[in-house]
């Protein structure tokens, strides 16, 4: 049975390692600050379901997708590049192209550290919406905000500067919130972080 496409759900396709965490957190914050819901493969803990099936189901249910290819680089240990992000981007584009009729409304943003780096490893995506964050979380906030506002055509959304200011204040409060939860920031799961962001925005934006 097909999953219903939610017009305010945004699939986040990005690396999950610690070095990427500042940009990941900034993107999640921006999505909630704009009134959308962030979805990603980390939200499910059901070990019985294959990871790829989870990703398929989440992509199917999201109208928007944010795909960060900045971590596609040679791994120092294996000497091989990481292909998960391009694979999930391909799945998203395939769902839009070959899925049921209502999947054709899907829209996706492609982020990278440099705007034209993709030409060296995935040139077939030229013509897609490709933006650069230069490894800067605040630039990622501006890119995600501007793209989501333009694509969704929603009005009365906060500007990039306003979300950055809110995000800075959230980061100031986060250590105290984690202390009240008796948890380290790094131990917050994706869903717990999302709930914390949503609750903070409701009380403090």
């Amino acid at each position: 049975m097909p999953t219903r496409v939610r017009s305010n759900h945004v699939f986040i396709n990005c690396p999950f390692d610690a070095s990427y965490r500042p940009i990941f957190d900034a993107i999640i914050f921006t999505v909630y600050a704009l009134g959308f819901v962030a979805r990603c493969a980390l939200e499910e803990d059901d070990a019985a379901e294959f990871r790829f099936s989870k990703i398929e189901r989440i992509i199917e249910g999201c109208r928007f997708g944010i795909n960060d290819l900045s971590a596609v680089a040679l791994d120092k240990t294996t000497g091989l590049p990481r292909f998960n992000m391009p694979l999930e981007l391909g799945l998203f584009l395939g769902c839009k192209r070959f899925g049921l009729k209502y999947q054709s409304k899907k829209r996706c943003l492609i982020l990278d550290s440099d705007r034209y780096r993709y030409r060296n490893f995935i040139s077939d995506i030229s013509g897609q919406d490709i933006h650069a964050h230069a490894g800067d979380p605040e630039q990622a906030i501006r890119e995600v905000r501007d793209w989501l506002q333009a694509t969704s055509k929603r009005r009365s959304l906060p500007g990039g500067g306003e979300i950055i200011e809110q995000y800075r204040r959230f980061q100031e409060d986060l250590p105290d919130i984690c202390a009240a939860l008796a948890l380290e920031h790094s131990k917050l799961t994706f869903l717990d972080l999302s709930t914390t962001i949503a609750e903070w925005l409701r009380t403090s934006r």
Partner: protein, 113 residues
């Protein structure tokens, strides 16, 4: 940049109304405080800035939330490791402690017209 939230919270036997960057106003009753906060939020909305009024309980958790020209913050999917109520309590506690750490004016605004 000023914050968009107008807080209403219990303080020293009265009710305080505070917007970020501004001094708090003190009201005797909760109803007066909420009316004062809403009037402030409506003024902000007319300036096309948007605002929200948050009424906090004694633990800091949200009792009432009303938005004026701002997008609604959506609920994330359920199934988090921590109960959402525990997170709401922790966030409310931190926000209320920050509000209470800022000095209050003398209680001269009670029953202000």
């Amino acid at each position: 940049m000023a914050t968009k939230t107008v807080h209403v919270y219990p303080s020293e036997g009265a009710w305080a109304v505070k917007k970020g960057g501004k001094r708090a106003k003190i009201f005797v009753t909760k109803r007066e405080a909420i009316e004062g906060a809403r009037a402030l939020a409506v003024r902000e909305e007319k300036k096309s800035r948007g605002a929200q009024v948050v009424v906090h309980g004694s633990s800091g958790r949200i009792q009432e939330l009303r938005m004026y020209g701002m997008p609604k913050v959506q609920d994330p999917p359920k199934n988090g490791r921590l109960p959402s109520g525990r997170i709401a309590k922790a966030v409310g506690k931190v926000v209320l402690e920050r509000l209470r750490s800022e000095p209050l004016p003398p209680r001269a605004h009670s029953r202000a017209k």
